[in-house]
């Protein structure tokens, strides 16, 4: 176990390093320096700025300096408005995190409930309805669902207020963000529940006269949750990228919409910092999920 943990942590660190390197060198491959503006700056100003941001040093050294700054939590400043990126992330990330965590919880809870219901009522009406809708929702891109929800509930029916400085309503963004993972988890937990129900230990439990409630919750559900846990880790990546468009559509001021606007504004330092931050987050989430998975299911071999 210890060896496995060390191996996984090392791989995660290596991945984050590769991500930093890719991001850094890609962003420096973009033509035009960061101080190319419509109004030309004087040469002295450019030289001073270059010296301030270490842009006069060789690229390799710049990369090492950038890494050192990252380790100190210094992400640099935004090219467009000169704000500290750390502050931008600090104020917008909690919104994204709240949105993402709520969506993930909704998807996990509703997904397993629906999936298990479908498995227990196999080939009856509820099962068919659940399968139909979960298949349908895995084919709807989140940005389309979000725009439709916005159109119907915010604009046409006016049931839910549009996101603004004064009203923070997470309902529609959470629905839009959780739809796809929920549909997927439903399908996944249905198959794994069916699988668990056909196992020998369930037959033994029933032969011993265990109540149906106890059989489902104590024996079947617990075992059917394992594939769902494995799926939840990589889903964090989906939630983060999905949240980019959904935050943009609902004009939620989270990190995702900041990232999208950084892309459209070509704000390279902000793109670089956000990519590294989000990527490190995803790698960490995957790592934790993998380790948890091994803890939950001792049958898995450490290879």
């Amino acid at each position: 176990m210890g060896k496995y943990i060390i191996k996984r942590v090392l791989l995660a660190v290596l991945t984050v390093f590769v991500i930093c390197a890719i991001t850094f060198f890609l962003m420096h491959a973009v033509p035009g320096g960061p101080f190319n503006r419509e109004k030309a700056l004087s040469e002295a100003t450019v030289a001073a700025l270059n010296a301030r941001y270490n842009l006069d040093k060789p690229l390799g050294e710049q990369f090492l300096l950038y890494l050192r700054n990252l380790l100190h939590g210094d992400f640099g400043v935004s090219l467009k408005n000169g704000r500290e990126i750390k502050a931008i992330i600090g104020e917008s990330f909690p919104i994204s995190a709240r949105l993402g965590i709520s969506a993930m919880l909704v998807a996990l809870v509703l997904g397993t409930v629906l999936g298990s219901t479908a498995a227990l009522m196999r080939n009856r009406l509820p099962d068919r309805l659940i399968v139909f809708f979960s298949t349908l929702f895995t084919a709807v891109p989140s940005f389309i669902l979000a725009t439709m929800l916005l159109l119907i509930f915010c604009i046409e029916l006016q049931w839910v207020p549009v996101w603004s400085a004064t009203s923070h309503n997470y309902l529609l963004p959470v629905i839009a963000l959780s739809a796809y993972p929920m549909a997927y988890i439903t399908r996944l937990s249905k198959t794994s529940m069916l699988d668990a129900l056909s196992q020998d230990y369930i037959r033994t439990a029933r032969a011993k006269g265990v109540s149906k409630f106890k059989m489902i919750f104590k024996h079947a559900l617990r075992n059917s949750l394992i594939p769902v846990i494995t799926y939840a880790g990589p889903q964090i990546a989906y939630i983060i990228t999905g949240s980019m468009v959904i935050e943009t559509i609902f004009t939620v001021g989270g990190l995702g919409s900041k990232f999208v606007s950084a892309i459209t504004n070509r704000d390279y330092t902000l793109i670089m910092a956000t990519t590294i931050f989000l990527a490190a987050l995803m790698v960490a989430a995957n790592l934790i999920c993998d380790l948890l998975y091994k803890l939950v299911d001792p049958r898995i071999k450490y290879d």
């Binding site: 991945t15 298949t135 891109p141 159109l151 990228t241 468009v245 459209t264 995803m282």
Partner: protein, 360 residues
């Protein structure tokens, strides 16, 4: 008991008492009786059996029909509809400024006048967009582009993944170990973020000589292919390597080798046919995911560049004036959902028909 000419049974023997049977019981079988012994079903090949299973699956058949209908529409429509996807509508050579944001099947004032004077005008089936272009033909071209990207991206992924995976699987040993470590690192990169990043950079950097095939496709499209090719092949490579490793260990490969079959024959006759279904199925499932990614990138604004439409960029453009012209969102949205849904269902059907083991 009368004697039927057969030997009598020794009372201590456990054999059948033949004297109980009549002579006719031992008559040779007639032709009719022989025919009953024939195998009733025709012999079937793996492919034919799979197709039969596929066509028994109603969902797969419906999605095949839907896809065929979509393909026919996007092939035929540009021949029938007299507008082009970047053409700003004009009547008798004069720009038709009133043809902005028309609802489906309506005409602008200028067009109405033209029709009243006896001219003929092809209806705007999906209306027009904010720049006075026919929306139906734009959706048709967008579908073409989105499907084209999905299809080619999955072919690129297939080629790279197959080469890398099979080399790694055949060589085994240290080469395999190193090649798989590389795959591990690429696999653990957050793909969407890397795609966005690469797309941002490549869009700025790529330049092609004017007039060449690549420049006609546009940098954004080429960079999309590069990005898919760089990142998505790892899954395919892993899958194929795993397949080859497990097939190599099978008894029939050992048997073939022991009767002296050459490696070429083993690869052709045993390994390729056995991984083929897995490869085809996962490539089929790759198409909708590539289409999905493309529409996401176009929606964010770093996918296919204007004036070329894609389903994602049309949906993004429709957000302006959503309240007044919701149909501009509805049409591309329905097309994306139908394409992704039917490709997914078809892929699932193929998987169930050709490789039930793969079912998750």
């Amino acid at each position: 008991m009368e004697n039927n000419g057969l030997p009598k049974k020794n009372p201590l023997s456990l054999q059948l008492d033949l004297s109980k049977f009549s002579q006719e019981s031992f008559a040779p079988a007639t032709d009719e009786e022989k025919r009953q012994q024939d195998v009733m079903s025709k012999s079937t090949t793996f492919f034919r059996d799979g197709m039969r299973k596929l066509f028994k699956n109603p969902l797969a058949v419906i999605s095949l029909i839907l896809l065929a209908a979509i393909l026919l529409t996007i092939i035929i429509a540009p021949m029938v509809v007299p507008y082009s996807y970047e053409e700003i509508l004009s009547v008798n050579g004069k720009r038709d400024k009133g043809a902005k944001n028309l609802a489906p099947f309506t005409y602008s004032q200028m067009e109405q006048k033209y029709i009243d004077q006896g001219g003929e005008r092809f209806p705007h089936i999906f209306g027009t967009d904010e720049q006075c272009r026919d929306y139906f033909i734009r959706v048709v071209y967008a579908t073409r582009i989105s499907l084209f990207i999905g299809f080619f991206a999955s072919i690129i992924v297939l080629i790279i993944g197959m080469l890398y995976g099979s080399i790694s699987g055949y060589m085994g040993g240290r080469a395999d170990l190193i090649m798989m470590r590389v795959v591990d690192v690429i696999y653990s990169l957050p793909d969407m973020l890397m795609i966005i990043l690469l797309q941002v950079v490549l869009n700025e950097r790529l330049q092609f000589p004017a007039g060449s095939f690549l420049s006609r496709m546009g940098t954004s499209m080429v960079s999309l292919f590069i990005v898919f090719g760089l990142l998505y092949w790892v899954g395919m490579a892993r899958l194929i390597r795993g397949q080859i490793l497990s097939i190599k260990e099978n008894e029939y490969v050992l048997a073939a080798r022991s009767i002296g079959a050459k490696p070429g024959r083993i690869i052709r006759k045993h390994i390729i046919p056995n991984c083929l279904s897995v490869i085809v199925i996962s490539s089929a499932l790759q198409i909708p995911s590539a289409t999905f990614t493309e529409s996401f990138l176009s929606f964010v604004g770093i996918g296919v560049k204007a004036p070329m439409p894609s389903l994602g960029s049309l949906a993004n453009a429709a957000r302006e004036g959503l309240q007044s012209y919701p149909y501009k969102l509805v049409f591309p949205a329905i097309v994306i959902c139908l394409i992704v849904l039917s490709l997914n269902l078809l892929g699932d059907g193929l998987r169930d028909a050709f490789d039930p083991k793969l079912k998750r």
